[in-house]
Symmetry: D2
Subunit: 161 residues, 4 copies
C-alpha cells in the first residue's frame, strides 16, 4: 500500500521546489450548507475552495478569470484533482487557502494548495488538506489551445522571482 | 512532469489487479444545478457521484451505509480523493458509475471508480473520469477504529471470489 | 403572522384546481453530500430536486429541456421559488417528487411540487415539502421571449385533459 | 395570477415595518461552482447565501450559531423559504446580503433578505433577489422548543430600537 502515499511526497516536493514563490492567500468561512451529517465539511467542497484560491491567485497577478473566459475565450477546465484530507473542517471555521502555481507549460497549468484553519484549542494553525489541480487550456469548443502569452509570462515571472 | 501521471498508472493497476471482482454499477443523471458556465458538469460533482457509487456497492453487499453509522457508529470519512477527468459530462447525461473495492485493511478501505456515459454520436461508451478515494474508519469522536469484522469479511469475500 | 400562511393556501388551491392533471412522478435518493450537520438534507437541495421533477415532467411531455435550450434558445430561469418544509428528508431516503404545471402564460410557467418519502415506521407516505417555482421564458441574452407554441400547446393539452 | 405576487408585497411590508432596524450586511463572491450553463448563479445558491447572511446577523448580535447548536442544543431548521429573483447574479460578482429579523415569537423566527450587487455598467446597486425564511426552534430530537430567552431578548432589543 506504499503507493498510496506517492501523491503526498509529490505535493511536498512541489511546495519545496517553488518555495521561492509566495503563495496567494485567501480565506473562506465554512457554510452550514457545506457540512454533512458527520458534522464536518463534506469533502468535495475542498475542491470548490481550491477554485476560490486559484481565482484569487490569478486576481493577484492582475487577471480576472471571468475576463480570460470572455476576452480570450480561454477556459481552464480541471484535468486532474488530488486532495489529501488531514483534519476535518467544521462549520463556521475560517479556512485559509494557500495557492501556488506548481507547474506551467503552454497548455497546462498546475496549482498546489494547502488549507489551514486556526482553532482556540490549537497553538498552531491546523493543516486541513493539501491538494493539487491540473488544468488544460481549451477554447470555447473544448479544444486544446495555448494559454495566451501575457498570462504565461506574468505567471512565469512570479515563479522565477 | 512525468510524476504527474503516476496516479494514472496506479489506478490502472488497481483495476487490473481486481479484474476478478465485478464492479458495482449504478447511474445518475447530470442535474442542471451541477453544470457550470462552461456548459459542463462542475468537477467537484464527480466526487459526489463517486459517493453514490460506493454507497450502492455497499448496498449490493447487503450493507446500508446509514446503518453502519447508526448501529456500529462507524464512519468512513475520505482521507484522500484523486480524480482524472477524461471528457466533460454534460447536462442530462446519464452517467454510469463503476465502483470497486481496490484495497482493504482493518482501518482503511480504498474504492476505485470509472465514470462513463453514452452519447448518440459515439459508438462506444465515453469514459468521463477515473477516480479513487481512500477512507479511514473512525468512531463518532473521529478516532481511528477498525471496520467491524462482518463488513470486512463480506468485502473480502467479494474480492477473493 | 397570518400572512405567513398565505402561500400555503395558494399552493393547496393550485393542486386542487389542477386535480385533473396527473402529476409527473420521479424519485431521487438523498445523497450524503446533501445532508448537513443537523443530520437532515440541507433545505436548498429541495429546490434542486424540484428541478429534477420539472425536467422529468417536460421529458414525459416529449421535450428535453437541454434541447429547448439548444434548438430554440429558450431558457426558463426561476423568477420565484417558494418551499414549505413539512418533515426532514434524511440520508438515503428515496424522495418521490410530484410535479404539475400550475399555471401557464405565453412567457410564464409555474410548476407546483409535492415531495414525499416512505419510512418503515410510517403507514403512509410522509410529506416532506410543498413547493412552487415560477419561470419566465427568456432568450440567450436573458430578454423575455414567448415559450415556443408547440411547447405551450403540449402543456396546455395536458392541463385541459 | 394576481396571487402570485402576494409574497412580494408581504416582503415589502416586512422591510417597511422594521425600517427602524438596521439590517446586518455581509458579502459573498459568486463562485464558479455556483454558476450553471445559463451563465448565471444557479437559483438554489441564493438560499445558501441567505444562510450566510443570517449567521452574520446572529454573530453581530453576539451569538455564534454553532454555539447555539452545541451549548443550548437549539437548532433553527428552515420551515419555509421564499425567494424572488430580480436579476441574475454572475460569476465573480460580489453579492451584498442585507438581513433583518422580520418576525419573532418564542419558537419561530423569520428573516428577510435583500441581495444586491454593483456593476460597472449600473449607476446604482442592482437588486438581485428578495427572500424570506421562516425557522422553527427545535431540540436535537427535532421537537419544537422555545428559543432561549437571552437570544430572544437580544433580538427583540434590536427590533425595538
Amino acid at each position: 500500500m506504499n503507493r498510496l502515499f506517492t501523491a503526498r511526497f509529490f505535493i511536498d516536493r512541489v511546495f519545496a521546489d517553488n518555495s521561492f514563490m509566495p503563495p496567494s492567500v485567501t480565506t473562506i468561512r465554512v457554510r452550514y450548507a457545506e457540512t454533512d451529517q458527520m458534522g464536518v465539511a463534506y469533502h468535495s467542497n475542498f475542491l470548490i475552495w481550491c477554485e476560490v484560491g486559484r481565482v484569487e491567485l490569478l486576481r493577484q497577478l492582475g487577471f480576472e478569470y471571468s475576463q480570460m473566459e470572455i476576452e480570450h475565450a480561454v477556459h481552464l477546465p480541471v484535468a486532474e484533482a488530488n486532495c489529501r484530507y488531514r483534519a476535518p473542517a467544521r462549520y463556521d471555521d475560517v479556512v485559509t487557502i494557500e495557492t501556488r502555481v506548481a507547474a506551467l507549460r503552454s497548455t497546462v497549468i498546475k496549482f498546489a494548495y494547502r488549507l489551514f484553519t486556526t482553532r482556540p484549542d490549537a497553538a498552531e494553525p491546523v493543516l486541513l488538506a493539501e491538494a493539487e489541480t491540473v488544468h488544460v487550456s481549451v477554447d470555447r469548443a473544448m479544444n486544446k489551445c495555448p494559454i495566451p502569452e501575457h498570462y504565461l509570462s506574468a505567471i512565469r515571472g512570479t515563479m522565477d522571482d
